[in-house]
């Protein structure tokens, strides 16, 4: 841990400073005197959201995840959908599905990140719960879906696959 450093204010609680700053910014903006400030460019592709869901509605414009959940039952298709806000340049994306033991169950391999669509998805389909489990007969298992962006680990989603009631 670093040593305590000097405050720019004296004896006033940080929360109070925040309120004063909010007030100051409101006045500052209202007066219209705000000079141009350098805002960091969004040159990196920006992820808006990542969903896992049971079905998709695909139209010409976009892909809409339906029944978003992280718990699945046998017979479900499992979709993972990434919604990007910006995509800049050409990039590759890869989905790898790991089972409860860490074994690879599906690998999408590198796919071109299509600049036309901000939604990208991968899907896994299975027939029965027993097909996914070893002999110890658990009531549910946890899988990890790992997404790689330009060969770098980008995000991980954990889903639960439960046995049919």
């Amino acid at each position: 841990m670093e040593a305590e450093h000097k405050f720019i204010y004296f004896g006033i609680q940080p929360e109070m400073i925040k309120i004063l700053i909010i007030g100051f910014i409101i006045i500052f903006n209202a007066c219209g005197s705000s000079k141009d400030v350098k805002i960091y460019p969004s040159y990196v592709s920006t992820l808006e959201n990542a969903y896992t869901c049971k079905s998709l509605q695909i139209n010409n414009v976009q892909i809409i995840p339906l029944d978003s959940t992280d718990t699945f039952k046998p017979g479900h298709r499992i979709y993972i959908v990434l919604h990007f806000k910006y995509i800049s340049g050409s990039h590759k994306i890869r989905f790898i599905w790991y089972d409860q033991t860490g074994k690879v169950m599906r690998d999408s391999n590198d796919m071109e990140l299509n600049n036309d669509s901000k939604f990208h998805y991968d899907v896994f389909v299975y027939d029965s719960f027993d097909q996914l489990t070893a002999s110890n007969n658990p009531s549910s298992i946890k899988w990890n879906i790992v997404v790689f962006y330009d060969e770098n680990y980008f995000l991980r989603k954990t889903i639960t696959i439960a046995k049919a009631a």
């Binding site: 700053i21 903006n29 705000s34 960091y40 860490g102 962006y149 995000l155």
Partner: protein, 590 residues
């Protein structure tokens, strides 16, 4: 912990840090380079991921995909995902796949969420200190996405952690009728057993015209809890305000292994408007196994007030239950109290089956000073709802008889008697036209009072809902009620009938609301109407309007307008009310 990156954001709304691109983290002699870093400040956990290069104090290097660190004790989990999941703890021991840390906590920390925050800071370097105070260098402050000022060095997060120890703003309010109010809360935890919570609330009303209560007030309260074992705790509370009231309360309770409970309390109360009071309370609960349970309480006040009460209840069988209560209260006269001495008692036997339930009870009250006695036996029987015709029709009935007697010295005994019967037949909702639902509720009530004779009351409620496109719908409720004095052959009484209509609308989730009215069906006269509008302005802002109109008075009853900004950890609201011409600006944390 020292963090550098090309872009670091701290969001006040989410109380979280997000850093990306050439992230460099230094802590405990460990140096980490990665693509991304997310910190959830509330739980004090961090996720570092993407092309990680980790350099340990002994200069050994390691390549990883994800590190999750608990920043309270620096316990961590290192993972690689390329060739199957390989996860280890900080000491290099393997972690079972099912124990892999959940990352859903970090899902909300995304760059777009951070930028939607009401208040966020962007910096190139931040330092995280003990108690999770965060200070930053070269900070841009953004309010509602608008860049404001540039600060060279600034504390973007105070050393607060609501979950444990620290300060937080508990309330902020600005109003033309109630003044300015600011509340600050401080929590302090010592070990696992001692928790202290302190609130300071300041109100300023001096600038309000015509205010006649007080100009300003500071209110302080402190609650200290010491949990000395799993079965017992002691509390110490103090309240103080500058208007002149204060009180001190100390209490203690202990639960024994066999279920018995003992509790005691000393309470001193000094109000600004009345005499001070000093109370001593002693109480307990007894678990008597198959003999039921009993509660006993005794309270004594130094000026001679006494309150005692005893409750007893027992389930004799699964269906039969008996309960009783007796209490004695005494007080002597002073400036604000009259002298009194009272005994109250009640006993009730209830019988409950799946078909029928019955209650028999007796209640009495005796004023020992005036020798007035009130006694009231009662009996009620209810038939549980019976479902007929494939559950389409529900039938229920009940009857209640109450007898009461009031005896006062030198006056004749006042006796009252009443009987109330209730019959109800209700239909389940059924489809009359496509996309519509109808339900009918019929009820018949017969009341008998010793003084006024029998009254018969009958009513019908018809509910009709017609679904339109999307979430739009029309609801109509017709209510007809007739009340008749049925003692003589000549039946007199009143009829009322009312129609209530409502249109619910929702336009693409952008604006939703309803328009409703109520009217008298016989005279076709409108009573009142109201319009509710909910307009969503972007993702975090909304505007609500409620207008109500009174047709009998022929004027607008009230207009309420509220502008709301959701800032995740609370709401900021600006409200205006026409009838009182008052506005209020309020920040209330969730």
């Amino acid at each position: 912990m020292d963090i550098k990156a090309r872009q670091i954001l701290y969001s006040y709304d989410y109380d979280a840090v997000f850093a990306r691109d050439q992230v460099e983290i230094i802590f405990n002699g460990i140096q980490i380079k990665s693509n991304y870093l997310k910190i959830d400040c509330k739980s004090q956990t961090a996720q570092i991921y993407g092309n990680i290069e980790l350099k340990k104090p002994d200069e050994t290097m390691q390549s990883l995909d994800e590190i999750i660190i608990n920043l309270k004790d620096f316990s961590s989990q290192y993972s690689t995902f390329r060739d199957g999941i390989v996860a280890t703890n900080g000491q290099g021991e393997k972690i079972l796949i099912e124990n892999l840390k959940d990352v859903s906590l970090f899902e909300k920390i995304t760059i777009s969420n951070m930028k939607k925050s009401l208040l966020y800071f962007q910096a190139g370097q931040i330092l995280i200190f003990k108690q999770f105070k965060i200070s930053a260098k070269d900070v841009y402050v953004f309010l509602e996405g608008n860049p404001g000022i540039l600060l060279e060095e600034f504390d973007i997060r105070g050393s607060s952690n609501a979950a444990d120890t620290g300060f937080e703003i508990s309330q902020f309010r600005l109003s033309n009728s109630q003044g300015i109010g600011i509340g600050v809360k401080h929590k302090f935890k010592l070990g696992e057993n001692f928790l202290s919570s302190n609130n300071i609330y300041y109100e300023e009303r001096g600038w309000i015209e015509g205010q006649n209560t007080y100009e300003r007030a500071l209110r302080i309260n402190t609650t200290n809890t010491y949990k000395y074992s799993a079965s017992g705790n002691a509390n110490f509370l103090v309240d103080y305000d500058t208007i002149g009231s204060w009180d001190i309360k100390g209490d203690f309770s202990h639960k024994f292994e066999d279920g018995h409970l003992i509790k005691s309390q000393v309470y001193f109360f000094h109000p600004s408007y009345a005499d001070e009071e000093l109370w001593f309370n002693l109480g307990g609960g007894l678990e008597l196994g198959s003999f039921g349970s009993a509660d006993l309480n005794f309270a004594y006040e130094q000026s001679g007030r006494i309150n005692t009460d005893m409750d007893y209840s027992n389930s004799i069988t699964d269906n039969l239950m008996i309960s009783s209560q007796i209490s004695y209260n005494k007080q002597s006269a002073n400036d604000s109290l009259l002298e009194s001495q009272m005994i109250d008692g009640a006993v009730q036997v209830s019988y409950d089956t799946s078909f029928i339930s019955a209650n028999a009870g007796f209640m009495f009250n005796k004023d020992l000073l005036t020798n007035t006695v009130f006694e009231q036996p009662m009996f009620s029987i209810n038939i549980k709802p019976i479902k007929l015709y494939y559950d389409l029709l529900t039938f229920s009935a009940s009857n209640r008889t109450i007898y009461s007697s009031l005896r006062q010295p030198d006056l004749s005994e006042q006796i009252n008697f009443s009987n109330y019967s209730f019959l109800s037949m209700k239909s389940d909702a059924f489809e009359l036209f496509p996309n519509s639902n109808v339900s009918i509720d019929l009820r018949l009530e017969q009341l008998f009072f010793r003084n006024s004779g029998p009254i018969t009351q009958m009513g019908i409620v018809v509910d009709y809902t017609q679904k339109l496109v999307g979430d739009n719908a029309i609801h109509l409720t017709y209510n007809y009620n007739t009340r008749r004095n049925s003692g003589n052959w000549f039946i007199e009484g009143t009829n009322t009938s009312m129609l209530i209509g409502q249109l619910d609308y929702n336009v693409f989730g952008f604006t939703k609301g309803n328009l409703s009215f109520s009217m008298d069906v016989e005279s076709l006269e409108l009573y009142s109407s109201s319009l509710y509008l909910d307009l969503s302005l972007g993702e975090r802002w909304s505007l609500n309007t409620l207008i109500s109109y009174d047709f009998l008075m022929d004027r607008i009853n009230d207009v309420n307008i509220m502008l709301k900004r959701d800032i995740i950890r609370g709401d900021i609201k600006l409200r205006w009310r026409q009838s009182t011409n008052s506005f209020i600006l309020e920040f209330s944390p969730k």
